[in-house]
């Protein structure tokens, strides 16, 4: 069976299990389908990549905020009023790209991703190909995304194996010294925050 078919079968099995679980919870009057829908809707409507873009733009113009973001991502997000409380025990870590190091985020074990900051993850992030190849051949994967780095730039791959979620702080593009925070935020891309794009 192809990996693709296998993924489909697994997802069909999972969806049946979720349906059965929801039916049991409804039966026990613990929750209801509309209540769950509203919960998911509320979570997803607040979970947009613009949250990540705002953190990046502020970090580019405010050195004290940048220092905070690199030290304590949760505190930095909180400072901008971005609510991460639905995954309270999860630690947000922001890793900085420089001329010396380029960071790339992956979850080899499943598909851990900072949804609250970036919105739902793109399908390729969850693919077996990306998850296995990002750690084995990061430069090859980056090249397929159109990213070629100088040989002396170290590629650091962060495998989100546990309770921390990762976001990249990209390098501020040259020639943007005169832009304001909102204009800077518009330069940031989702892939830039995963490390599969340069800005």
């Amino acid at each position: 069976m192809s990996a693709h078919m296998h993924d489909h079968r697994k997802s069909a099995e999972l969806s049946l299990r979720v349906k059965a679980l929801v039916a049991k919870l409804e039966e026990a009057k613990v929750t209801s389908e509309p209540e769950l829908d509203a919960l998911v809707e509320r979570f997803l409507s607040a979970s947009r990549p613009e949250n990540g873009y705002r953190i990046v733009a502020r970090a580019w113009i405010d050195p004290a905020f940048k220092a905070l973001a690199l030290r304590d991502g949760n505190a930095a997000a909180g400072r901008l009023g971005i609510d991460l409380s639905h995954w309270a025990p999860v630690k947000l870590r922001i890793v900085e790209n420089t001329a010396a190091v380029h960071n790339l985020i992956v979850c080899t074990l499943c598909s851990c991703y900072p949804i609250a900051l970036l919105g739902p993850s793109p399908p390729w992030y969850k693919s077996a190909a990306y998850r296995s190849r990002a750690v084995r051949d990061p430069r090859g994967v980056l090249a397929e995304f159109g990213v070629t780095l100088p040989q002396n730039t170290n590629v650091a791959v962060w495998d989100s194996t546990a309770d921390a979620r990762y976001m990249v702080l990209p390098v501020r593009p040259a020639g943007t010294e005169n832009l304001g925070e909102e204009e800077l935020a518009r330069l940031v891309t989702r892939n830039g925050l995963i490390g599969t794009a340069l800005l």
Partner: protein
């Protein structure tokens, strides 16, 4: 408890059930970069959430050459629980 900068060696996985130690990072040398605090140990949590110990979680840095072979490039950083690690001199 490992200090920042400690040299460690990852263990072989200790369970046939759930673990958060990736197969490709077993029995590899690395350096502790940061302690992220204590979190419920996934290997126990998956079996019984009421009986999961809070265990220190560390960001461990590996050289891709140690993880793969001389064709590896760059570094790999993963968050690994204390029971996955043993000290290395």
């Amino acid at each position: 408890m490992f200090e920042r900068g400690s040299r460690v060696q990852t263990r072989k996985k200790q369970t046939r059930d759930h673990t958060r130690l990736p197969a490709y990072l077993q029995q590899k040398p690395g350096i502790v970069r940061e302690c992220l605090g204590a979190f419920p140990f996934p290997d126990q949590n998956a079996v019984d959430p009421n009986r999961a110990d809070a265990v220190n979680l560390y960001t461990v840095e590996f050289s891709a050459r140690d993880v793969w072979d001389s064709s590896g490039t760059g570094t790999i950083l993963a968050d690994l629980f204390e029971p996955y690690l043993e000290p290395q001199s």
